[in-house]
């Protein structure tokens, strides 16, 4: 037994010594390549759905051509606490710039402030933060997206009819802006009325709300969902109700995911609004490079593109590009 104890002690001492040695020369590495822009971290709140994978793809594609010494891309798995940890780790690791999509805007303010204190510029993608200083932001034109959908629906209904709007959670950044854009624009068509319901961006809730609302009043001619992920729920609901999408009711989505484009192709979805995440990821990386080179950041809005059967095969649509 004494041997085991001795061996363990020796091992521990060796480990400590080696660790000490490793720290010495390695510490100097942080200065290497003085001409370049340093390490940049991209902290995304999740990478578990296509839109965010699109942002990741754009980030990777464009970062490869920018003079960063290292790019790190992490997912917070939809957990604010994890995202704060990632901020702290990256700041400790000496990141020179942080690009991130906040999990919950208010909960990431301390993280942004910590970066501000460390003099590390922060750029948000996809959303904004409630407080703290940003060097810039890249977001989708959510208001414009809602308005494009409103125009398409009003035209399809020939300025007359009832629309069901299924939203994201009340108070959520994207949902508020999409709703605002949609309602304001549809207001310019006096013959069109809108019923708005909170479906929490959930396909499941979209399904039950659609069934309930259309059972109660079968007179709806269009359904607008705030995110393409909800389309499946709405289509299942229509099937359950014995309604044919495209004939009895037109369905319009937003995001322009590969799945939504397929649904536009087969005619079950009339249109979706494409919000190019690949361009957003790329734009954010380029803006960070510009800021680190001493330039100014800005607040960029990525424009909305309507996708119908006419342009659904356009190779420029992000939903038609391979991701990653």
């Amino acid at each position: 037994m004494k041997h085991t104890a001795k061996l363990l002690t020796l091992g521990a001492v060796a480990a400590l010594t080696l660790a000490g040695c490793a720290a010495g020369p390695a510490d100097g590495d942080s200065n290497e390549g003085s001409g370049d822009l340093g390490d940049v971290a991209f902290l995304y709140h999740t990478l578990e759905f296509e839109f965010m994978v699109g942002i990741q793809a754009g980030t990777e594609e464009c970062s490869a051509e920018l003079p960063f010494s290292k790019t790190t891309i992490l997912s917070a798995q939809a957990n604010s606490n994890t995202q704060v940890t990632q901020f702290q780790d990256q700041l400790a690791a000496g990141a020179k710039g942080i690009v991130f999509s906040p999990n919950v805007s208010a909960e990431l303010v301390p993280a942004v402030e910590a970066a501000n204190d460390a003099g590390v510029p922060v750029i948000t993608v996809d959303s904004l933060v409630a407080d703290g200083e940003l060097a810039g932001s890249v977001t989708f034109d959510n208001v414009g997206g809602g308005a494009v959908a409103a125009d398409f629906i009003a035209e399809a209904l020939k300025d007359e009819g009832k629309v069901l709007e299924l939203t994201g959670p009340q108070g959520a950044f994207h949902a508020e802006l999409r709703h605002q854009g949609f309602i304001d624009q549809i207001g310019t068509f006096p013959g069109v009325t809108v019923e708005t319901r909170d479906a929490h961006f959930s396909a499941d809730e979209a399904l039950s709300i659609t069934v309930d609302v259309l059972t109660d009043d079968p007179d709806y001619q269009a359904i607008f969902v705030h995110t393409d992920g909800m389309l499946r729920g709405v289509l299942s609901a229509l099937e359950q109700l014995g309604l044919t999408p495209g004939e009895d009711v037109i369905v319009v989505g937003l995001d322009g995911t590969p799945e939504a484009l397929d649904l536009v192709r087969d005619g079950s979805v009339a249109a979706t609004v494409s919000a190019d995440p690949i361009a957003m990821g790329c734009e954010a990386a380029q803006m960070m490079a510009k800021v680190l080179e001493g330039g100014e950041g800005s607040d960029v809005l990525v424009p909305a593109t309507l996708v119908t059967t006419e342009n659904v095969d356009d190779a420029e649509l992000w939903g038609n590009k391979p991701l990653g």
Binding site: A15, N79, N81, D89, V104
Partner: protein, 341 residues
């Protein structure tokens, strides 16, 4: 001086050894985990030039501190052969109340803190009551309170985080002593207190007895129900403190605070050598367990490992740590029997 209270082992040992003096070799033998932490640290320092920087090590301890506080509370419960899943819900209800009562109810901060922690204690009492008096299995009873606390937190807050937080939380987030963040100091103080309670008080000794063999403890005149009930209250208080620390960390009263952390807390305790069968466990192991788990996420963040792999890596580390503990016990037993013969 490491822990001497190994439940079943302690009985044998008492016959063989008298009070131990400090002995580094002995410490290593008791805490195989130190070796794991050091080896893992060595590997990390070779892979990442940042790992061993003072900034990162301080950052690592800061991140381990909240998990560590919760794990200290859980150590009591698990030594008593119980389990407490509700620690994944208590921080949420504490967080929304501690901020909401001030922001929406216009009550003073101290009062909101008292109410919030009070609610946490009520949850602990409810757990203890359901388990000892109603005879519900700990896993089920605390699964119930886990769901109830998260549900109440969402209902109270309306599902969104409550902001802005009172200045108290911004001060708490930035507070430090001699450059050491207050969270680390809180963990250190609570660890010392926990060690003292476990090893030097009647309650502590009773707890090991209850966890090791409840019937025997009962016959020896220990009020086992009271001891077990108390462990759930301690765990709830620890989770409530964590709820306050999380609130400061995110500067919001969020119903998502601490969601999903219960299994990580249990993992930290079990990696630290506390037996899920009860009767065995110690403070140093628990703190090391929390540090090791935090090292895994730190490593992933520093090395830019694709995030999907972090759960895999954490799982592998848990299994290795547990395996090491099994070896350690085996060696220990062989040593005991040799001494006895």
């Amino acid at each position: 001086m490491t822990q001497t209270t190994d439940g079943a082992l302690a009985v044998n040992e008492a016959a063989v050894t008298t009070r131990r003096r400090f002995d580094p070799a002995r410490l290593l033998q008791d805490q195989g985990l130190i070796v794991v932490v050091l080896i893992f640290g060595l590997v990390l320092s070779l892979l990442s030039p940042t790992f061993l920087t003072p900034t990162n090590l301080m950052n690592l301890l800061l991140q381990a501190s909240t998990l560590g506080v919760m794990a200290l509370g859980m150590t009591f419960v698990i030594i008593g052969a119980g389990i407490d899943l509700s620690v994944g819900g208590i921080p949420a209800i504490v967080s929304v109340l501690a901020v909401g009562l001030v922001v929406r109810g216009e009550l003073p901060v101290w009062f909101a803190l008292v109410v919030a922690i009070g609610v946490g204690i009520v949850v602990g009492l409810a757990n203890g009551f359901a388990i000892t008096k109603l005879g519900i299995a700990p896993l089920i009873a605390t699964l119930g309170t886990l769901s109830i606390t998260i549900g109440l937190a969402f209902a109270y807050s309306g599902g969104t985080s409550i902001v802005p937080v009172p200045d108290f939380y911004n001060l708490l987030r930035r507070a430090n002593m001699f450059g050491i963040p207050i969270n680390i100091i809180i963990l250190a103080v609570l660890a010392v207190v926990t060690h003292f309670v476990l090893t030097r008080t009647t309650f502590g000794r009773s707890l090991y007895a209850v966890g090791g063999n409840r019937q025997a403890a009962e016959m020896a005149g220990i009020r086992t129900n009271r001891v077990i009930l108390f462990t759930y209250v301690i765990s709830a208080v620890a989770a409530s403190i964590a709820g306050i620390l999380f609130t400061a960390r995110l500067a919001s009263g969020s119903p998502q605070t601490g969601i999903g952390i219960e299994l990580t807390v249990i993992a930290a305790v079990v990696i630290g050598g506390t037996s899920l069968f009860g009767g065995r466990g110690n403070v140093l192991g628990t703190v090391l367990g929390a540090v090791l788990i935090t090292m895994v996420t730190n490593a992933i963040n520093l090395l830019g490992v694709p995030t999907a792999w972090d759960r895999v890596l954490l799982g592998v580390v848990i299994v290795i740590a547990a395996l090491l503990d099994v070896f350690r016990l085996r060696i220990h037993e062989r040593w005991m029997s040799r001494k006895a013969s």
